[in-house]
Amino acid sequence: MTGIDDLRTDAAASRPLGALYAGNARSVMLRGWQATRSTNWLVVVSGFFEPIFYLLSMGLGLGALVGTITTESGQEVPYAAFIAPALLAVAAMNGAIYDSTWNVFFKMQFAKLYEGMLSTSLGPLDVALGEISLALLRGALYATGFMVVMQVLGLNLSWWALLALPAVLLIAFGFASVGMAVTSFMKTFQQMDWINFLLLPMFLFSATFYPLSVYPQPIQYVIQVLPLWHGIELVRGLTTGQVDVGMLWHVLYYLVMILLGLVFTTRRLRALFLD
């Protein structure tokens, strides 16, 4: 048994992230897929229809009254084509948030799932990446379905709309990453309710159903700090074909969210389960 430390030194040195990452996030995703297939596929399916109901009721119903609406860049678009990209971004957000908050909270506090995972050779970053990727996949699934509905209803006004799909993935990744980080600090159901309390106004007021210019200037600033507005503007620009370089700021916003979320989640999981 002597000298085993020397033999193993290579193994530890070849892991740039040390004990945090075993390069096996795949197995965590596999577990999620298996669990979905085994028990809760119905929940997943129901999440798909929610934004489509919104689109049909508000876009087509309310849209008949509103007619067209002028976007930030001065273009006139049908009301349904105005809110559809916003609902697409919201769908991505909701899919990602559901998986990364309530699901994660349950697994952490009650099912002790992560405790079990981290007593294997998995590291906290494997768990974080696996869970977030799963949330991302779900967001992508919802988004693709929604895009098809948009196409059928003629709400994609440009070929740029194809890029809305990766954009939606970016949004889902951002929310999943931050969602899991925030959840890892939560201890009670009451605290979890705060997340919903914050999400609902963000959904309603982030220039989802009308242009930002409706608000007085100070409120516009507040909205522009929130993540959903960046997501909606990004997707809306793409599906309506009004693309400009400034949209890269929205992309950057999400990249920062992803990075911060991953760092905090990994550190927190490490503190919780590998102290």
Binding site: T2, I4, D5, N24, V28, S38, T120
Partner: protein, 308 residues
């Protein structure tokens, strides 16, 4: 003696100012079955978590399979099997899926895990439950599944934290039988327990732990020989009288322990002590002569009973 698989020297774990583990040293040889016996809060689970490389030590030295868990956590964990105190089975997966998915966490190939899962279902006597939901299993079955899961990576050491706590007597015996088989196959076992009968059945050697420190170390029989007499006479005089009577019993046996509900008289011959008590004109409500157990060792060392 072969190189030990676990070496703990002066192991310390502090949470702020509180030392949950306060300088514990022990060694476990390959194939040995080693126990940590002590009441709740003695520091057993904290020690287990450090050995399991999921908790970093505050002080002292620790080597698992020759490696330092601070540096080789993933390597060590890949060669351990862990049975935690409360079951953390994946309730969103079926019984067999639990084994398959867990095996994949170790990065093992699918085919190998599938073959191993079937062997382990047979070992855990759960073959006909392969497709059942975890929630539908009894407590004993869940524990067996947890043990099967811990064996999926063919671990060098199996860590068992309170393996039979909360199980009914029949389920405990089935579990002990399974663990005994593992022991016969040469698996190294490290287990914590606050049941002395469990420690006596399963442990080759054990340490008695209280308040984060080791009180005694040895084989169960040896500990009993060292710290207790061969037999114990238990007499009851009724809750109110026990203390008064104890004064009159002074000098009987090797040693007396007065508990709230009974008096223990340690002696090489319990029957003759009982005769002396009755000759002295005292009338116990009940009396019982039994062999000394680890419970008595613990009482002797700490002045307290194991299960309070």
């Amino acid at each position: 003696m072969p190189e030990p698989v676990i070496v703990a020297q002066n192991l310390v774990k502090k949470y702020k100012d509180f030392a949950a583990v306060d300088g514990i040293s022990f060694e476990v040889a390959p194939g040995e079955s080693f126990g940590l016996l002590g009441p709740n809060g003695a520091g057993k689970s904290t020690t287990m978590r450090m050995v399991g490389a999921v908790s970093t030590r505050t002080g002292g030295d620790l080597r698992i399979l020759g490696m330092d868990p601070d540096r080789y956590g993933p390597e060590i964990r890949s060669r351990l099997g862990v049975v935690p105190q409360t079951d953390n089975l994946d309730t969103e997966l079926r019984v067999r899926e639990n084994l398959l998915v867990y095996g994949r966490y170790f990065g093992l190939p699918r085919a190998q895990v599938a073959r191993r899962a079937d062997e382990l279902l047979a070992f855990a006597q759960l073959e006909d439950k392969a497709k059942a939901r975890v929630d539908a299993l009894s407590g004993g079955m869940k524990r067996r599944l947890t043990i099967a899961r811990a064996l999926i990576n063919e671990p060098s050491i199996l860590l068992l934290d309170e393996p039979t706590t909360g199980l009914d007597p029949q389920a405990r015996h089935i579990l002990w039988d399974r663990l005994f088989r593992l022991k016969e196959q040469g698996t190294t076992l490290l287990l914590t327990t606050h049941y002395m009968d469990e420690a006596e059945q399963l442990c080759d050697r054990l340490v008695v732990v209280d308040k984060g420190v080791i009180m005694a170390e040895g084989a169960p029989a040896q500990l009993i020989r060292t710290y207790s007499s061969r037999e114990v006479l238990e007499v009851r005089f009724g809750s109110d009288l026990n203390a008064d009577v104890a004064a009159q019993l002074a000098g009987m046996g090797d040693r007396l322990e007065v508990l709230p509900d009974r008096i223990l008289i340690y002696s090489e011959n319990g029957e003759s002590e009982l005769v002396r008590i009755i000759d002295a004109g005292l009338k116990p409500i009940t009396s019982l002569v039994r062999r000394s157990s680890l419970e008595d060792v613990f009482l002797r060392l700490t002045g307290r009973t194991l299960i309070e």
